[in-house]
């Protein structure tokens, strides 16, 4: 108790030291005056009274000192002294301080930024109470089932009391837009990202609304009044938080729907995506608002399932039970009841319950490889930073060895010297850490802007979390301590006599070898990064400029949704004709193609194919093919050439015979023995359908799905034809086009506005969801690759700059140290050019050694990133040469200045300064 009281009051004294000192002085002088007075009262003379008083008081200075010792905190005082000393030292050499701080800050900042990004995309929990209770049914990673039909969901929900709530949500929301406008208000209909969710979705999440109410199970019953919940971000973005939105009626896909509430501010839906859900609508509205009544189609698996499990439920048995519930439902689906292999397929059904604390982790799944690569890269940068800092501190320690020797000789204890130097490096690390956090904030907001275009409402924040801050400071402190310790130890153990004797006549000693090896290491690491950056950049260029099999220049893709505008299938042919004519009338537009989806817009439809006259495929056969619906002009519009047969014609209408055009890859897969594909029939799904489509033409391969993928087999159908065997086999929504492709004579200014206006004229509800060039659209598919490649390049250049600084520093230092030696050489007749060559040779030797280490390591690492590269090998000669040349150039640049300085040394001066 006493000790705490003492400590506390000493702490308090720290802050009023000056006042305390004054008080003591006054107290002491009062004491003496009182003593003198008393002595005089006893009859002493003035002088005698004073002497007596002083004598009985004792040593005044000592009293003062002891008083102060009692007052203070010796540890803190020593620290404060060291800090003041360190600050003074750092101020004395601003060049060193700024270089070291910036170096450290860049390294820490880069790492903290990557860490923030990783933390946000991979580790972030949903902003709901007790996220650890959430369980995802299914898992994207392990190849089990994770998509469910409405029927499956109902079955699971009814039979699993183990869950507090088991909720379902639309699986694919990437291109799920609803067109809406507020009723009774002059407002242009606009498309918003929507998601169908079960009535208990919000109850499962356990969250409370920001305004109004959230969806309830009663809303999710067929025939119930249609309601929706708006996201907080849309409420703010579109309506500036207008409170009257709650309870107002919106016209959504031409149907009136009441917005009953606003989701809480921090809630971004069940997954992290670039475009978070803005409108939550009950599953029961899907048959009316949706594209094709998925709800009543048992074959349509369109839902994800996420549940909140009751405490104490064992997941193993629950998983087995749910699997058992699902099997009979699968058995009713033709694909699984099929005599050939159906049973085998049923056996292969796997269901796993996985942690759902971060919701549906689609982003984590897509980005994990890229993020891990970035983590390695930023780690390398940090390593370079450490080498640089060590080098700077070493050089500084050596430069100060004379001063320290004098202090040791004068009796300064080694512990004090070590603690002073450590204080200095820790102070430096703290400064670096602080600036680093600022850089981290800037960098992560930049990265987030690249990754999430709607950054201001993104679920991910650039503010580094406490963990990230801790990480940043921890790393910088560790760096400071680790690399501050060695020079501190080395210099404090210098023999003072030695150091004083040799004064400044030195040649390269063993510390210099350490410095050189550090520089070699830096050069090696930066060449690795440069090669890595080069490989990724080249891969990106290859991806972007590969031959997609189509023309991409001067093509514009207009995405819209005619189904949202309320057209029936019978009205479609006239609508398409009208749209086509209207688009062609726009100045600068030369061709107009229409498709269910445009090449490389992120969509992909796949189906099993059965060919007439061929045996029924077994369960292990790969009979998948992608497909699309296109207008007769589309192939021409995108430059996909016809190889054989004929194109679609205006006469291929909804009522004529079913025809199809296939690509070369399709021919190769389904007619491997060289049969003539023209005139053959095939179907989608079961054998009954095998006569549905007659192949009339073959086109060149073109990439429609993913830039990285091999060419996929594809078949194309006319826009409005349906299968003869079963008109329900393809859902109606595929009859509604999703994209119009315009070929223009060049960049046309104001075309976007004209297109939007033209569509609005045709029907105000015909909302253009997206307007971009085909090139931009392809770029969108590569946003992650761009992010990784750009950051790697950034880090590579950073590493190069740091290595350059390191090289420069060491060379400049050696030149300064060897001043007299160079002077002697010149006095003995060495040419200036010889001196320059000598210095530059030293630099190039270090860079060369770095290359010798770096290149093989980079080649080895290249194998591990091969999976992320497109049409580039890990040892691409072009990339290697560029990286090596860049490093050599940087080394030259770093060496030229010190070399010049060496060459201009005046021999007379250099010798005299000895």
């Amino acid at each position: 108790m006493d000790r705490i009281r003492i400590l506390l009051s000493r702490f308090a004294f720290l802050f009023r030291r000056r006042a305390m000192d004054a008080e003591l002085e006054e107290e002491l002088s009062t004491h003496l005056e009182l003593a003198i007075e008393e002595n005089r009262r006893r009859g002493m003379a003035e002088e005698e009274a004073r002497t007596a008083a002083l004598r009985s008081f004792g040593n005044v200075t000592q009293t003062r000192e002891r008083y102060r010792t009692e007052q203070g905190l010796p540890f803190l005082e020593a620290l404060a002294r060291d800090l003041r000393y360190a600050l003074r030292q750092l101020r004395k050499s601003p060049g060193f301080t700024i270089t070291a701080t910036l170096t450290l800050a860049l390294g820490i900042g880069a790492n903290a930024a990557i860490f923030t990004l990783i933390h946000a995309t991979l580790l972030q929990d949903l902003p709901v109470p007790h996220p650890e209770q959430l369980i995802r049914v299914g898992d994207d990673h392990r190849g089990g089932i994770s998509w469910f039909s409405t029927q499956m969901y109902d079955q699971l929900r009814k039979n699993t009391p183990e869950f507090e709530e088991l909720a379902a949500m639309q699986a694919s929301i990437d291109s799920s837009w609803l067109t809406l406008h507020r009723q009774g208000v002059a407002e242009v209909p606009h498309g918003e990202v929507s998601e169908w969710v079960s009535g208990n979705y919000f109850a499962m999440m356990g969250i409370t609304p920001a305004a109004g109410r959230l969806l309830q199970p009663a809303d999710d019953i067929a025939g119930a009044p249609m309601v929706a919940v708006m996201s907080y971000s849309m409420w703010q973005r579109e309506y500036a938080g207008d409170p009257t939105i709650v309870g107002s009626v919106f016209v959504i896909n031409t149907h009136p729907v009441t917005v009953v509430g606003i989701a809480p501010k921090e809630f971004y839906g069940d997954r992290i995506t670039a475009y978070p859900t803005d409108l939550f609508v009950p599953l029961s509205t899907e048959p009316l608002l949706g594209e094709g009544d998925f709800t009543h189609n048992p074959r349509m698996q369109w839902l994800y399932i996420l549940g909140r499990v009751k405490p104490g439920v064992a997941l193993g048995p629950l998983q087995a039970k749910m699997h058992a519930e699902l099997v009979p439902i699968f058995s009713d689906i033709p694909y699984y009841s099929d005599a050939a292999g159906g049973e085998e397929r049923i056996k292969r059904i796997r269901l796993s319950l996985t942690p759902g604390h971060s919701g549906i982790a689609v982003m984590a799944r897509d980005m994990v490889a890229g993020l891990h690569l970035l983590m390695w890269i930023s780690g390398l940068v940090l390593l370079i930073v450490c080498a640089n800092i060590a080098n700077l501190l070493l050089a500084r320690g050596l430069a100060r060895s004379g001063e320290i020797s004098v202090r040791v000789a004068l009796g300064a204890p080694r512990t004090r010297i070590v603690s002073q130097m450590l204080t200095e490096s820790v102070l430096l690390s703290c400064m670096g850490g602080t600036v680093g956090v600022a850089i981290a904030y800037l960098m992560s907001s930049m990265m987030l802007r690249l990754a999430f275009p709607r950054a201001e409402f993104s679920p991910i924040h650039a503010t580094p979390s406490p963990q990230v801050l801790g990480f940043a400071f921890g790393v910088s402190l560790l760096t400071g301590l680790l690399f501050g310790m060695a020079p501190a130890w080395a210099t404090s153990h210098a023999q003072p006599a030695d150091a004083l004797r040799r004064s400044n006549r030195t040649s390269s000693g063993h510390a210099s070898l350490l410095q050189r090896s550090l520089v070699v290491l830096q050069a090696g690491l930066s060449v690795i990064l440069l090669i890595g950056a080069g490989l990724l950049a080249k891969s990106l260029i290859n991806l972007q400029h590969q031959s997609f099999g189509i023309e991409v220049e001067h093509r514009v893709v207009v995405r819209l949704n005619a189904q949202n505008a309320g057209y029936t299938t019978e009205e479609l042919q006239p609508l398409y004709d009208r749209m086509r004519a209207r688009m062609l009338s726009l100045p600068g537009v030369t061709k107009v193609g229409m498709a269910l989806f445009a090449p490389l817009d992120g969509d992909d439809l796949r189906s099993d194919v059965v060919v007439e006259g061929q045996p029924r495929p077994g369960p292990a056969d790969d009979v998948h093919s992608s497909w699309d619906r296109v207008s007769p002009e589309l192939f021409d519009a995108i430059g996909q050439h016809l190889v054989r047969g004929r194109n679609f014609l205006a006469s291929d209408t909804a009522h004529s015979t079913g025809v199809a055009v296939v690509n070369r890859a399709f021919v190769k897969r389904f007619f491997p023995r060289g049969e003539d594909p023209i005139g053959q029939h095939f179907g989608m799904g079961d054998m009954k359908s095998a006569a549905d489509w007659q192949i009339v033409g073959v086109v060149e391969n073109a990439k429609y799905q993913y830039p990285h993928e091999e060419q996929q087999p594809m078949f194309f159908l006319p826009l409005l034809q349906r299968a003869q065997s079963d008109t329900k086999s393809i859902d109606v929504s595929s009859l509604y086009i999703g994209s119009i492709i315009l070929v223009t004579t060049g960049p046309i200014s104001g075309l976007e506005h004209q297109v939007r206006q033209a569509m609005e004229e045709i029907n105000p509800n015909l909302n253009v969801n997206n307007y971009e060039t085909l090139e931009e659209q392809i770029g969108d598919r590569l946003s992650q690759e761009k992010l990784v490649a750009r950051l790697t390049l950034l880090f590579g250049l950073l590493a190069l700059a740091l290595a350059g600084v390191g090289l420069y520093g060491v060379t400049a230092y050696t030149v300064a140290q060897r001043g007299s030696e160079i002077g002697i050489r010149m006095a003995l007749g060495a040419e200036r050019s010889n001196i320059m060559r000598m210095v530059l040779q030293g630099v190039m030797l270090q860079a060369g050694l770095g290359l010798l280490i770096g290149v093989p390591v980079a080649l080895l690492c290249g194998r591990y990133v091969q999976s992320q590269l497109f049409e580039v090998t890990g040892g691409d000669p072009g990339v290697l040469t560029t990286a090596i040349a860049t490093l050599a150039l940087a080394a030259c640049a770093a060496g030229i200045l010190p070399a010049k300085r060496a060459a201009t040394i005046d021999p007379a001066k250099a010798l005299r300064s000895e």
Binding site: S9, H31, E33, L34, A35, G58, N59, T63, R66, Y67
Partner: protein, 112 residues
């Protein structure tokens, strides 16, 4: 001490100060020093200055408190007095000392 006078034991001085303040109430530093000299009948030889670190120590423990006032001769001086905590401590400290003194006395008594 360097000047040849022997110092009083630290604990001893603290208790002397406490006891002085207990019997005399509020006193300034000089008066405390004089009082200790008088009470000990000058058998304790100490530098008067040593009492200031002792006073600070006691203050830090919150056993005594200090207040500026005016001395009998009209001088501004810091007056010290016992705190509530100090009053309790005087008792326990006295007991401690009595126990120690008694023990010592038993050792120092002529062996029987």
């Amino acid at each position: 001490m360097g000047d040849g006078k022997s110092d009083v034991l630290q604990g001893t001085l603290d208790l002397m100060v406490l006891k002085t303040l207990e019997s005399m109430g509020s006193l300034h530093g000089y008066a405390i020093a004089r009082r200790i000299e008088q009470v000990s009948d000058h058998t304790v030889i100490m530098n008067q200055g040593t009492i200031y670190p002792a006073l600070l120590r006691l203050q830090q423990r919150r056993w005594i408190k200090a207040q500026w006032g005016v001395s009998e001769t009209g001088r501004r001086a810091k007056f010290y007095s016992l705190s509530k905590l100090g009053r309790q401590k005087v008792e326990t400290e006295t007991e401690n000392w009595e126990r120690v003194a008694a023990t010592m006395a038993r050792f120092l008594a002529p062996s029987n």
